[in-house]
Each structure stands twice: as structure tokens, then as C-alpha cells.
């Protein structure tokens, strides 16, 4: 927390301490860009976009990048999930700013630029790749969080393929009436769960595999 750090610094004798309370969300909201760290560009689970046109990427590009010139950005966005972290670089800062603005407007939540842009990346001696580009495909897959279940696993569980799994559908009875319910699930509305522990078998794989469905339609599977 920034105020905590500011207080600590003040106690350590720093005389000119200020806090940007509105923080990073406001910075982005106001249309300013943020920088991804080089480490994140090298190893993060990201979509790395090279905005430069023509042969520039053939002559040198950041490994794992995909060439998407600004004009093609809108058309290519169908390949990029809205929750994917996107990092952008290009021939100049204006292109990068425009691309980031467009992506934000388009509903992308995590968009940043390569620190120092392409020239900055080069100057720092970071890894560069050159030569022919064999694939310009964007295939970003979100990594599952701890305790999270993949769609495939969930489907298998509703098909009864994991007999040791107990699935709770946490929607309200009205929602279930409206949209139906999956097989092999038990409806315990969200607000009732704390009172319904006796209904949840203890010998099943609840820990780490307890799926609580929330607003979700059958179309999702």
C-alpha cells in the first residue's frame, strides 16, 4: 500500500514524500500508458505485438512477438482474448499510444508497452530474433489459477467421469429455472453454502476441485 510506504519513508527522514493515491487504475483511465518490465516481455504469458510494418520484423524482432501493423489491429483482435495481457512495441511512441488507446477502447484490460519501445529494447542488449517468420498466429491460453478447473475437466466432471467429485451449483433457484442445470451437480445457492456444509460429502474431492458455478450458461461448455 502506497500510504504505508510513504509513512515509512517519512519516518526514515525523507522530507519530500508524496502519494499518488488514485494509482495505476486512474493512470490508465486517463489514457496514459504503462511499461511492462523486460522480464515480463521475455517470460510472461502475454500476447506480444510488433506494430511495425513490412520487413522490419524480419530484420529484427523481440522473440515471441507477432507482427500486427496498426491498420490490422482491429481485424486481428478477434484472435486475442479480452483478458490476455498484451504488450505492444512499434516504430515510434505515437503508434504505440494509438494502439494501446484502441485496445483499451476495445475492452482489453491489461495493455502495456515495452519499456523504451523497440529502440530501448535494442539498446539494453535484450534478446533479438531475425530472419523469416514462419507463423503469425496468436494463440494465447490463460493459465489456470490455483484451485481452478479447466472447461474440459469441468465437462468431464458433469458427465460423471470423476465419481469422487462433488459439484455445487451456487446460483439462485430462479437462475436455474431460467437456464437449466448441469448433470451431476447439486444446487446450493451462494448464500446458503455456509449453512449447508452437512450436505457436502466429506469423502469427495472438494478441496481444490469444488466447482461453484455462478452465472454461466450451458453455451459455455
Amino acid at each position: 500500500m502506497s500510504t504505508k510506504n510513504a509513512g515509512l519513508a517519512h519516518k526514515l527522514g525523507y522530507s519530500n514524500v508524496r502519494v499518488y493515491l488514485d494509482g495505476e487504475p486512474k493512470w490508465i483511465e486517463e489514457g496514459y500508458v504503462t511499461d511492462a518490465s523486460d522480464q515480463f516481455v521475455k517470460t510472461g504469458n502475454i500476447v506480444l505485438i510488433d506494430l511495425r510494418e513490412g520487413d522490419a520484423p524480419r530484420e529484427g524482432r523481440i522473440p515471441r512477438s507477432v507482427q500486427v501493423p496498426y491498420e490490422e489491429l482491429e481485424a486481428r483482435s478477434k484472435d486475442i482474448p479480452r483478458n490476455a495481457p498484451i504488450v505492444v512495441y512499434g516504430a515510434n511512441d505515437e503508434d504505440v499510444q494509438d494502439a494501446i488507446d484502441d485496445l483499451h477502447d476495445d475492452g482489453y484490460r491489461y495493455v502495456s508497452k515495452v519499456t523504451g519501445n523497440w529502440t530501448g529494447w535494442l539498446k539494453k542488449g535484450n534478446p533479438v530474433e531475425s530472419g523469416p517468420i514462419f507463423s503469425n498466429e496468436i494463440s494465447w491460453v490463460r493459465k489456470l489459477g490455483p484451485g481452478e478447473v479447466s472447461v474440459a475437466e469441468f465437462r468431464a466432471a458433469t458427465e460423471g467421469k470423476y465419481p469422487d467429485v462433488f459439484i455445487i451449483d451456487a446460483r439462485t433457484p430462479e437462475e436455474i429455472k431460467e437456464r437449466g442445470i448441469f448433470q451431476n451437480t447439486v444446487n446450493i445457492p451462494l448464500d446458503m453454502i455456509a449453512k449447508s456444509f452437512s450436505k457436502i460429502p466429506k469423502d469427495k474431492r472438494n478441496a481444490g476441485f469444488l466447482s461453484l458455478l455462478h452465472p454461466m450458461q450451458k453455451d459455455d461448455l
Partner: protein, 192 residues
Amino acid sequence: MNRHHFVKCLPAAIMVALLSYGCAQQSQMPPTAAKPAVEQEAKKAAMKYTGKIVGKSNKAKVVSVAVGKGAAKKVVMVKFDEATKGIKFAKKGTAAIIFWEQRGADKYATVIKPKLAKLPAGVTEIKTEELAELLENNTALTLADARPIARYHKGHLPGAVSIPVPALKKKKAALLPKDKDELLIFYCGGPT
């Protein structure tokens, strides 16, 4: 794209709450709020939870809020109804103070207030416009990102260095500029 509906699933929401990234810290909370509600508490006029709102279901009419610190960290649920004041402050991702009362087996929110960040003594606030101008003019300053380092890697204000709270507590001035009179600006993930 379908996959991202899963984000709405409760386990994910709870996990995210437990990871507690950003600025959400329950450190300023009275220690009593971290303890589970017991029978006696119900007798008191106003009980409260202070913490980050991790979810709100208008269908189930329930707000979930992350309370407690460290091992005692958990998500509690409080119901709300038409009589609840300030329900607009139960905004996901922001910090709030929820006053509640026990009605039968349920806790009902009576008043919800936003939890505003308090500035420590001797420290002033800076707004976006002024900060942007200072950065634009290459003013001599240190801009420090107080969020966990993973958040910093993902995207930080231009020129910022990473100084998460636990790091500063441990290493103190070693992480800060030598000149104690130079402008030092901290930021994080918003006033949560």
C-alpha cells in the same frame, strides 16, 4: 472467450481475494474484525467488517468481503436488502466498511461506507495531471510502485521502480534514494 466466464466462478473469486494483490491491505483494520463472528457479537448494536469487496451478487443479495490478515485472512458474506444504506459503495475491488446486524442466522448490512485511504503525517497527495507533467519534464524524482512485484512486471508507470511494502519494511532506506530531500512519490493499485 467462453473460458472467461469461469472467472465469475466463486473459487476463482475467493482465490483472487486470498492472493490479495494490489493495495488492498487489511492492516488498518481493528483486530476484532478478523475474528469470526460469535454469538455475543450479535448482541452488540453495530458490528462491522472492513476490507476489500471481492464480489457482489444482486441475485443472491449478498456482498462478499475479504477480511483479516495473514493466516486469519478469509472471505465473509453479508446479505443486503432495500434498507441497506450505501450499497453503491459495495463496488468490487474497492475497500469498504460494512456495518451489519445479525438477523436470525444471517448477517445483514445496515450501512456500507467507502474506506478512504488516510495520508500519513507529513505526506501529501499528488494527482494524475501533476504527476504526468513531472514525468514529462523529466523532473528529478523517484517514483516507486508499492504493489507486489508481479503486478509491477505486468505494467507500471513509466520510470517507476518496484518497492513493495514488505521489501521497504525489511530493507528500509537501502531501497530509497540517497538524497532524502529529493521528491519521492509512491503509488499502488488505487485507493482500496
